[in-house]
């Protein structure tokens, strides 16, 4: 493999990694925009999605679409439940209360899940397909599908945010929660669709993670830290920023591996984050306005 092709393939790897991180960051940033806290339960929500897909597979339903639908459904129901029974009561209590409550929800979710599914790994029985080789660049079929799924997810999120009345309300709350209330926007009527959407994204992200890796109770938790980094880098609460930053971090991380090795690449997203925040405290795509 010649030099430039080697790096091109690394970029490709980074794109795929970044898509997974970016989707998780999208779910994080949606919550952050509207409810103003980093939702640590996002990772475990993804795990639940992956297990829902596995559950459908166990019923001998081979269709990834059906599995994905089950994942979306399970995650949405769970996310709405978490909002309705816990997070709803914490409105206005500040970042730390909400962050801690979401950590609690994450642990409770994982505990309940692993109680029933155990600690053994599960696998999606997706057929192994050979890659397309385009000018030496290996493009894997499964990654193409994953990219399509991610793209659909991102597009649907944006369509919801920018084309629907509920999305407009979400953006209004994200922009100025007090004014939104004074404009008569009822929190509940926005929050339920919001958490449903967050659940749906987590469902898709969980399925993608599950198909690419293996399904274990801690799988989603491990994606949380890089997703946090992407969310911050993208400018908190900025959906486009989150996805772009996720992909960017993925690419930078993989491109760095010939120079820093495979261990430091994990820390790289945070190092990039620290460096960029030193220069731009509001993140790459964050606006300079100071909230609070």
């Amino acid at each position: 493999m010649n030099g430039s092709l080697f790096y091109l393939n690394l970029v490709m790897n980074g794109l795929v990694q970044g898509l997974v991180i970016g989707l998780a960051a999208l779910a994080l940033t949606l919550v952050f925009a509207v409810a103003r806290f980093p939702n640590a339960a996002t990772g475990d929500l993804m795990t639940v999605g992956a297990y829902a897909g596995i559950g459908v597979q166990a019923l001998n339903v081979r269709s990834v679409i059906v599995q994905g639908a089950a994942a979306i459904l399970a995650c949405s129901v769970l996310a709405i439940g978490q909002y309705w029974f816990v997070l709803r009561y914490l409105r206005g209590r500040g970042l730390v209360s909400l962050l801690l409550a979401s950590i609690g929800l994450a642990l409770a979710t994982r505990g309940a899940l692993s109680f029933f599914v155990g600690q053994d790994q599960y696998l999606f029985n997706t057929p192994i397909m050979r890659p397309y080789v385009i000018a030496g660049l290996r493009v894997q079929v499964v990654d193409l599908w994953l990219a399509v799924a991610s793209l659909v997810c991102v597009t649907a999120t944006f369509a919801m945010l920018f084309l629907t009345p509920v999305g407009r309300r979400m953006r209004a709350i994200a922009d100025n929660a007090e004014l939104a209330r004074a404009s008569g926007i009822r929190m509940q009527r926005v929050m339920i669709p919001l958490w449903a959407a967050v659940g749906a994204i987590c469902g898709v992200a969980g399925m993608i993670l599950g198909i690419k890796t293996v399904v274990l109770p801690e799988a989603g938790w491990h994606i949380l830290l890089p997703a946090f980094a992407a969310m911050v880098l993208g400018g908190l609460g900025n959906p486009i920023g989150a996805v772009v930053a996720g992909i960017l971090l993925g690419v930078v991380q993989e491109l760095s591996t010939p120079f820093v090795g495979f261990t430091y690449k994990i820390a790289l997203s945070f190092i990039v984050l620290a460096v960029i925040l030193t220069v731009r405290p509001q993140g790459l795509f964050g606006s300079a306005e100071v909230v609070r």
Partner: protein
């Protein structure tokens, strides 16, 4: 039984020290530090490495405090510029960077192999004497840290901190320097966490990067919330409740024939999560907390 109790008390004491430090950061200053385990790890590794290369344990402890405090400096400088939500995640990242450096630099830290046989002090006192003496050391460290924090909190410096927390802009216009104060609080708290790390390394006698994961930070936050934000006695009570929660489930399981440890492990995680949620919901001021500050 006694030795087990002492072991529990020692671990509680180490968590109490961490909780005090975090309480100093957050309860007194409002600094959202989600990278506590990073300082803890730096303290643990510093002391372990120094003593393993033949230096005295006392030197190891001092170096642990100093290095952990110094490591807080760049982070503190960055923290001054950032909004609290950014800070939470930047500190989370800091701890992860610390862990990865420890994993990677195996010429120094032996990486994932970990450092075994970290010396225990008081070896001459025999097995049980050693444990009791160690507990004494942990208690002494806690008392010293509490005294230091109380002294700082009730000094003019402490009142400045309170004022900063309540109104940052007002203080800057008064001509004091909240930046310097913030940095000092950050470093003192980090130093105390470093001390906790040293105590931990010399007690468990084995350190490995896997011990220094974000979950530890979350545990300390839990202990602080449980005990009460801003309350020094609360730090001890919170740490005690946390360890009781972590260890107590072992005994609950022993009393429940038919429940396997395999399920209990899940139940334990579940209970910790639910406990955290309930506390945030129902008693945000903690057991000892006076003021609601979340």
């Amino acid at each position: 039984m006694l030795s087990y109790l002492i072991a529990i008390l020692i671990v509680t004491g180490i968590y109490a020290l961490l909780t005090q430090a975090l309480n100093f950061h957050y309860g007194f200053m409002g600094l959202i530090n989600f990278g506590h385990v990073g300082f803890f790890a730096i303290g643990a590794y510093t002391s372990a490495l120094l003593t393993l290369s033949g230096h005295s344990i006392a030197l190891g402890f001092v170096a642990a405090i100093v290095l952990a405090a110094l490591s807080a400096c760049p982070l503190g400088l960055l923290a001054l510029r950032l909004r609290e939500d950014y800070l939470a995640i930047v500190t989370l990242g800091f701890a992860e960077i610390v862990r990865v450096v420890i994993v990677s630099e195996d010429w120094l830290t032996r990486g994932t192999q970990g450092l075994a046989n970290v010396p225990r002090p008081f070896a001459s006192l025999g097995a049980s004497g050693q444990e009791i003496a160690y507990l004494g050391l942990v208690v002494a460290c806690n008392v010293l840290a509490a005294a230091l924090i109380a002294r700082l909190a009730y000094s003019p410096f402490g009142r400045l901190i309170e004022a900063i927390r309540d109104d940052e802009t007002a203080i800057s216009t008064l001509g004091k320097y909240p930046a310097g104060a913030k940095l000092r609080v950050f470093m003192v708290g980090a130093g105390i966490a470093g001390l906790a790390g040293a105590l931990y390394a010399h007690y468990i006698t084995y350190v490995v990067p896997d011990q220094f994961v974000p979950l530890v930070t979350f545990y300390v936050w839990m202990a602080m919330i449980l005990g009460g934000v801003g309350s020094l006695p609360g730090s001890f009570i919170g740490a005690a409740i946390l360890v009781a929660l972590l260890e107590g489930t072992r005994f609950i399981r022993d009393l429940l024939p038919g429940v396997m440890e395999i399920q209990m492990a899940s139940v334990r995680i579940f209970l910790i999560g639910v406990g955290l949620v309930l506390f945030v919901l129902l008693r945000p001021q903690g057991v000892m907390g006076l003021r609601v500050r979340t």
